[in-house]
């Protein structure tokens, strides 16, 4: 038994005052395997890995490493026993070189002084081993996110990690970087490192893992052998119900005669020459790679960043929002990509979040009409089914999907006409995604317009009525529904702008 498993978690239970984060989870990691760990948001994945790292002490249960039993872990004990975790946020220091980061906290020394030369050599060796091309002398702040992650992995391996736990490693990466990361994971497996790979993206789990463990609501559900598993089966295990189709049906609702938003040769915030139209009841998808300038465009429309030239027309009238406040009053809303940092006010209640943009509208002489405030919150809680015991609850305590709903509720309360979604379902589980899709459908069916930025190809194709693709801050193409095709979009997204002749400006209204 102990020979076969490098890490075993037995009946782990973790209770917080009033909440049970983990009821009973068991996990066995074989030597040299990649174990995919999946579950809806709030299923307990993060708590589980924190139990492994010693960041969280389980209420009950056993942790065995190489057959040796531990009642609890401490971060130091975990490191000594070869357990390393790659979190979504990295612990790199930007102002130090790649080599210095690799030896952060335990530099190679010659007497009293740090031996930079030896560190650079050792780092070069370590990077070579993982077949990654990083100049050890380069400052980390100049490296892309993908390389920064590689340094984290190299650091773990350098410290003799036998078990590598990766929490949503692909989330911050571009498509190319994800490929590189996969190669490194596969290389590590060959070297006998055991890996727990946590991801929402099932195709990654299928590509990389040997076995897949599913947990739900803090409980172990099942472990499947990857080649024998199917997507439908996994989704069923995760959500505990049958998902008939990934995208809910939408009634035709586009009003081509009504152009809600029009951009004419807009420059600003790094973007160049943006021209597009969005109609009433339409979902316009904005595709492209990370860094193509999509979020930047959203910020310009929302008034968060200035445009340098060009025209923005809303319902045919030229607008020039200089702040989010002005944009909101014009009927434009933004659901940002980073929900926790930019979207929701986590330390405020659901009620306050929903009313935040309209407090001045529901106040007389700056005194809030408390009954309207409450009624608003209750209305949207019911309408978009925010699951919470009370609207006075802090948004921090909601799941990701419900937080996203609160943000949407706020824009509905503000009577927004055009709603910009930046990666609307990032980090959400399958069930929550489906609900957000349904809400987007409800929006356009009731006459709203939606501009949806998405890096998930399926989502972009499944939800958009029309797609505009950006690359390097320019428009490289526009696709009608019947032209949707993943390969075409990918090509446009990685198009070198000079060759994309006569693209972009073509309007098809």
């Amino acid at each position: 038994m102990s020979e076969e498993f490098v890490l075993e978690l037995e009946h782990i239970r973790k209770e917080y005052p009033g909440v049970i984060a983990l009821k009973d989870v068991t996990l066995q990691l074989r030597r040299g395997e990649v174990l995919g760990l999946i579950g809806e948001n709030g299923a307990g994945k993060s708590t589980l890995i924190k139990c492994c790292s010693g960041a969280v002490v389980p209420t009950s249960g056993k942790i065995k490493i190489n057959g040796k039993e531990f009642d609890s872990m401490t971060p130091q004990l975990a490191a000594e026993n070869g357990i390393a975790i790659i979190y979504q946020e990295f612990n790199n220091v930007g102002e130090l070189s790649a080599a210095e980061n690799l030896f952060l906290g335990r530099p190679i020394r010659k007497g009293m002084v740090i031996d930079k030369k030896a560190m650079v050599e050792e780092a070069a060796k370590a990077f070579d081993q993982l077949q990654i091309k990083i100049d050890p002398r380069e400052l980390v702040k100049n490296l892309s996110v993908g390389y920064q992650q590689m340094i984290e992995i190299a650091k773990a391996i350098q410290q003799n990690a036998q078990v590598l736990i990766m929490d949503e490693p692909s989330a911050p990466l571009t498509t190319n970087e994800v490929e590189n990361m996969f190669k490194v994971v596969e290389l590590l497996r060959e070297k006998g490192v055991s890996i727990i790979y946590i991801s929402h993206r099932l195709e990654e789990i299928f590509r990389l893992s040997d076995r897949i463990e599913v947990i739900r609501d803090g409980e172990y559900v099942d472990t499947l052998i990857t080649p024998k598993a199917t997507v439908d089966e996994l989704i069923k295990l995760m959500v505990g119900r049958e998902m008939t189709q990934q995208f809910p049906p939408r009634k035709p609702c586009i009003d081509k005669s009504k152009v809600v938003l029009e951009l004419k040769n807009v420059y600003g915030n790094g973007d160049e020459d943006m021209s597009l139209k969005i109609h009433a009841g339409e979902v316009l998808g904005l595709g492209g790679l990370v860094g193509a300038g999509r979020t930047e465009l959203a910020e310009v429309i929302f008034g968060a960043k200035a445009k340098t030239s060009g025209q923005i027309l809303l319902n045919g009238k030229e607008i020039n929002p200089k702040s989010p406040r002005e944009a909101i009053d014009l009927g434009i809303a933004l659901v940002p990509e980073d929900r926790k940092r930019h979207g929701a006010l986590l330390t405020n209640s659901i009620k306050n979040n929903i009313n935040m943009p309209i407090y001045e509208r529901i106040s007389k002489a700056s005194v809030i009409d408390a009954s309207t405030e409450k009624a608003n919150a209750e209305k949207y809680r019911k309408e978009i089914q925010i699951k919470c015991p009370s609207v006075n609850q802090l948004v921090r305590n909601l799941s990701g999907g419900n937080q996203q709903k609160v943000i949407l509720g706020k824009w509905l309360a503000a009577k927004s006409q055009l709603i910009i979604f930046d990666e609307p379902t990032r980090g959400l589980d399958v069930g929550a995604k489906y609900e957000i899709y349904k809400l987007i459908n409800d929006l356009v069916e009731s006459g709203h317009s939606v501009l949806m930025i998405s890096s998930e190809m399926e989502e972009l194709i499944g939800m958009s009525d029309r797609i505009i693709v950006l690359a390097e801050h320019q428009m490289t193409g526009e696709l009608q529904k019947e032209e949707f095709n993943a390969d075409t979009i990918m090509t446009l997204a990685s198009a070198i702008v000079d060759n994309a002749d006569n693209a972009g400006g073509k309007e098809a209204s």
């Binding site: 969280v56 940002p336 979207g343 006010l345 330390t347 935040m356 700056s366 809030i368 706020k410």
Partner: protein
């Protein structure tokens, strides 16, 4: 679950329990002098001015800012108001009004530096603290100014029955502060900005404008505190406000307003003010030296912030 609720009840009122224990200790230690009517009136007079100043500071700390300039504002208001009344022979009410306008404008200046230029609040208000302490000296030449209209005793010396007017002013100010915080949209904005400035801006709050307002209010409340203090002492001294920001910040933080912003209630600050006020008074009654008092208050501030930071730490795990 019921137990949990009881726990929360104790937690959220812990500050009042601390206050009650403190009163009992001083009552016993002073052999009863501490809880006599005349001493309670005394405490009320003593706490009134920093109670008033703590309201503006509460707003500032709620948005994770700080205002170190209020001690200097109090000094300058003392000097300027006295100068206008005595040297310029101005009507008492006009002088008070002018001094309050000036205090508010200093707050606006703080707001401009913090919001429009982006100087960290600690440094910006540290600079104005030094500037206006200097200005106060320049105006007074370091000499006390005295000889006010006897009616000027209204703010700090007079009483309505047994209750000192300054205590009534403080209670009114707390009521106004509580109203702003709980009933107006400004209060919601304060909490939102303190919780997450970026998200607040993206929710349509004009964060910079609110910051101007908050620092202006902090200046105004400090100005009012200065008037009360001047009325009580009957003479303007160029050192009167020195270090007062320290007591005020201690009251606010002790009252449960998080230095990280976004968390805190007016009722907690009231308790904080009462605790610091009775602590000071109790120590004076028991003949504790001024320097020992400094040591004690410093420790209280460190503990108050420490508890706040520890509870923050626990939440993130």
């Amino acid at each position: 679950m019921k137990n949990l609720k009881g726990n929360n009840l104790i937690k959220s009122n812990a500050i009042w329990i601390v206050f009650i224990i403190e009163v009992i200790i001083f009552a016993i230690a002073s052999g009863g002098t501490f809880v006599t009517g005349s001493n309670i009136v005394n405490i009320a007079r003593q706490v009134s001015y920093y109670g008033i100043a703590s309201i503006g500071m509460t707003f500032v700390i709620l948005i994770a800012g700080i205002d170190l300039s209020i001690g200097s504002i109090i000094t300058l208001v003392n000097v300027v108001c006295a100068f206008l009344m005595v040297n310029a022979g101005m009507n008492m009410w006009v002088a008070v009004f002018a001094a309050l306008i000036m205090a508010t404008l200093i707050g606006v200046l703080n707001g401009a530096m913090v919001a429009s230029i982006g100087i960290p609040a600690l440094i910006a208000t540290f600079a104005t603290q030094t500037i206006f302490e200097g200005v106060a000296y320049l105006i007074s030449g370091g000499r006390p100014i005295a000889g006010f209209d006897s009616n000027f005793g209204l703010f700090g010396r007079w009483s309505l029955g047994p209750i000192p007017i300054c205590a009534i002013i403080m209670i009114l100010c707390f009521a106004v502060g509580s109203f702003i915080l709980n009933k107006t949209y400004f209060g919601r904005y304060f909490y939102a900005i303190g919780g997450n400035e970026e998200a607040a801006e993206l929710s349509g709050i004009r964060v910079n404008r609110v910051k101007y307002l908050i620092y202006a209010l902090s200046g105004l409340f400090a100005g009012l505190a200065g008037i009360v203090l001047l009325s009580r002492s009957g003479s303007a001294q160029s050192t009167v406000g020195k270090g007062l920001e320290f007591d005020v910040i201690t009251c606010v933080v002790l009252g449960g307003v998080s230095v990280n912003g976004g968390v805190g209630r007016m009722s907690g600050v009231v308790a904080g003010v009462l605790i610091i006020g009775s602590l000071t008074n109790g120590m004076i009654l028991m003949d504790v030296s001024e320097y020992t008092q400094m040591v004690v208050k410093g420790i209280v501030l460190a503990i108050a912030v420490g508890i706040d930071c520890l509870s923050k730490k626990r939440q993130t795990v």
